[in-house]
Every structure is written in C-alpha cells, then in structure tokens.
Symmetry: none
Subunit: 250 residues, 2 copies
Amino acid sequence: METSDCILIVDDDPEIRRLLVDYLQRNGFTAVAARDGREMWHALDRHVVDLIVLDLMLPDSDGLTLCRDLRARSSLPMGQPNIPVLMLTARGEEADRIVGIEMGADDYLVKPFNPRELLARIKSILRRTRALPPNLRPETARCLCFAGWCLDTAARLLTAPDGVATPLSGGEYRLLRILLDHPNRVLNRDQLTEMIHGREAEAYDRAIDVQISRLRQRLRDDSREPELIKTVRGEGYVLAASIETRNSCV
Amino acid sequence: METSDCILIVDDDPEIRRLLVDYLQRNGFTAVAARDGREMWHALDRHVVDLIVLDLMLPDSDGLTLCRDLRARSSLPMGQPNIPVLMLTARGEEADRIVGIEMGADDYLVKPFNPRELLARIKSILRRTRALPPNLRPETARCLCFAGWCLDTAARLLTAPDGVATPLSGGEYRLLRILLDHPNRVLNRDQLTEMIHGREAEAYDRAIDVQISRLRQRLRDDSREPELIKTVRGEGYVLAASIETRNSCV
DNA sequence: GGCATTGCGTTACAGTGGGTTACAAACGCG
DNA sequence: CGCGTTTGTAACCCACTGTAACGCAATGCC
C-alpha cells in the first residue's frame, strides 16, 4: 500500500487553506494546514511532510525567513529533511520572485493562481524529490521501506518481503540506517566508519567489509536479484533502492 | 578540479543564444548553444549537459515534443539521468505553462525575461538535481538491444541472441555502455579511457585493447558473423549496430 | 616481391581489492 | 562469574584489471 505524499499548507487566509487542503486531498495527497510560522514548526514536528506550500506574508514572520530557517536547519546532519518549498504570494513583482528562489524556495507561484497549475508544480517538484534521503527525525518512530524490505527504526526489526522479521544487532542497524539515509550514494569506508563509530578508519581496516557482508546475509532474499548493497570497486558501497517512509511496517 | 555545470541553450533566435551563452558564462557556467532539435541531439552526444534551456518554438520540431523525447529516451552518455529542462517561450498563456510542466519540464519562463531570474531558476533546479543520486536511477530498468543482443542496464546482464544471460564485470559493462551510447561512431583510445576511467590515457596504454578483446569474447556468437565491435586501424573502435531501447529484455 | 615497421589480438601473469569464514577478544546480562 | 552475543582481525580465495610479451596482419618502402 502506497502512502500518499503529505503537503503542508502555510497560509493565514482560512479560505485559501480550506480550498487547497480540499483540492489536494481530492487529488490523492494528504494535506495539512498551518496558520503561521509557529504552527508550521508544530506541524512539522507531528507529520512527515513531503512539501510545503508557503505563503510569503504571514502574521508572525514572513515566508522568506521561514524558508531560510528551513534550509538552515536541514543542513544539519541529523536534522530535518530538506523539505521542498513552493512559495506562494500575492505580490508579483519580479524582485520578489528572484529573492524567493534565491532564498531557497524551489518554485514560486503568484496569487491568484489556478489550482491545477499548483498541482502540476507540486508534482513536478515531488517527481525530483522522491529519491532524496529521508533523513528522519529520531523521535518519530517510522518505518523505512525499500525493495520489499522494511526497517522498523524503533524496534530495530528488519522485515523481509515475505513478512518474516528479524532483529538486527546494533552495528548492523547503524550501518543499514546510514545506507538508507544516503540511498544511491557511494559511501566509502572512511565515511562509513566515521558515521558508525565516530572514529577514524585505520589502515587496512576491514571491519566495514565484514559488517557489509553480515548485513548482506540478512538482506539475502531467496530470489536471486542483484544485491541491494552494491560494491563500487575502489570506492565503497551503495544501497541502490528508492526509500519510502511509513508509519508502520507492512 | 571542479568542472562548472554545462547549460545547453536551444533557441532559434541567434540574439538570445548569444545573450544567454554570454550571461551564463559570465556567471560561472559552461554554456553550449543549439539552433534546433537536430543540433540539440548532436550537442547532447558530445557534451555532458547538466541542464537544458529549451525554447518552445523551434524550426524543426517544437520544444514540447523534444522534452517528451528527452524523457522517453534518456539514453545519453553513461546513463545520464533525466536532464532537467527549463522551458522558454514567448507564449505566456496559462494552458501552455501547465502543459509544459506536465510534459516533463522542470520549470517554465516566459519571454521576455530578466536573465537574472533565469539564472536564479537554473540554480534552483540544479540545487535540487545535485541532491539526486548522481550515479544510478534505480527506478528506470531499461534494456539496450542491438543485433539480437540485449544489455540489461540495471542488472548489468548481457543476454545473447539464444537467450543465455551472462553478468558483465564493471569495466566490461562501462565499455559496452559507452559503445552503445555512441553507436556507429569511431571512438579512439583516449576518448574511451577518458570516458571509462576519467583519466588520461598514458603512452603505450593498451588497457582498452584488452578490455575490447574481453568484451568481444563475451559478444562472440557461434555464428561466424563479422565482429560487432569493429576496429578502425589507427583510429579506434566502432560498434556497428542499431540500438533499440526497451523496458525489458526479450 | 621482400623486408621492416607499425598496429592490433590474444594470452599469461601479477597486483589489487573485495567476500567470506574462522577465531578470538570484547561486551552484556543474568 | 558463566554464557551467549557481537564485533574486529586475520587469513584465504576469487574476481577484476592493467602490464608485458608474443605473434599475426596490415602497411609502407625499396
């Protein structure tokens, strides 16, 4: 079962909030609304948001500042995910559009707008964002699903495509977690030991290789599909899969 | 050594081409220009393009079609991912904008525009694309078929005309992939080593010859047809075949 | 044609890197 | 303390790839 993308609407106009939430829900999205910056942060704490539609003019602070703060936080390692932002505004001057995009918004739409265009732009942004690392917040117990497998981050259980769940050791869990947080990116041994143990890798340090081997055994399906964890000779390892986050395992 | 992003401008107006190439180069980009669709494909054959600025109205075919074709066959050098497209047009009607974005364009700008806004949008798109997995697109499992053979680019399996599939080593795969991406074109050793290893070929460097030999053994059919990979004495190698892309092997 | 030169195909070989296993040390827990 | 679990080290083996060497084919020169 596919969970729908969650869009957070941040606008002080109740009419627009209602309209957009309604329209997005009718088009298969999950929609959440917030009135101002404070409510936005609150909503981000409680929902796994895939995209933010952000009004430029807000009661407590303006959208540009919020957008910049979002970007600033997402640069932290274990912080919020890099949530795409679609800026929404009544002002149509060119200067604003440029500032908006330079400030980190991913797109810009001027009121009044056609909801269909908003939808098209949201889809366009999500299409690109889909494969981004999920970088989840540690306090939210969620499941990371990939290629039929599912990692329960709270219970540290790995569920196979056939539904059998096995517990992971601490090292296995940390390694898999790192790989899932950087899907489709080649991570070398130094990076991996650094991220897992917080120490430098020594010369001829092959601890990671062994951990990878053990993790691969856990991820071994009976079908002879290619390994999920691929080796890039002389470089490191990649987890080749698209990740999907859910609130519960299948 | 940081190489700058390469932007390909596709527009039939020489004035705009000159202006944009100039402006982008002054802002740290590499810029290439093409007059129409034919030149665009040609340019894509020779440059590693990071983003395309595409005019909607072109002499030989319209931008929407090109955009769709780009999405359909992203069989560009070494599995280049979907190249982001910024659509450019004189028409400003809303319907066009929606169609453009739904057709796969990543953004849309209406002439006349401020070059600074174009720059901001280009940077915005690239920022987003940068975060995407650069090496692999896990979701697109495609097959390159030629002369009865079929290369599964996801599994790196080479299927013979009789249906027998064999795995390729990394080097063999990369080499074959390069040849398939430039069919019927003579590639010399320097180009091949550059494309495969990203390094300069040394004097008396015959690594490529050996790789070609190994690849030929894999491509050896029992029938005594002429080699698929032909040698051009003093020049290099060509793969003489017409390529067909499919979503699954035969 | 005869011969030298050059370019290429092929094979053998060795260096390197990675997968895997065994074992021992470290850890955790009652 | 005793036991099971986890994890790092070492060892062995195999896959991959570049180098070198040999031989053949094509080319050029006389």
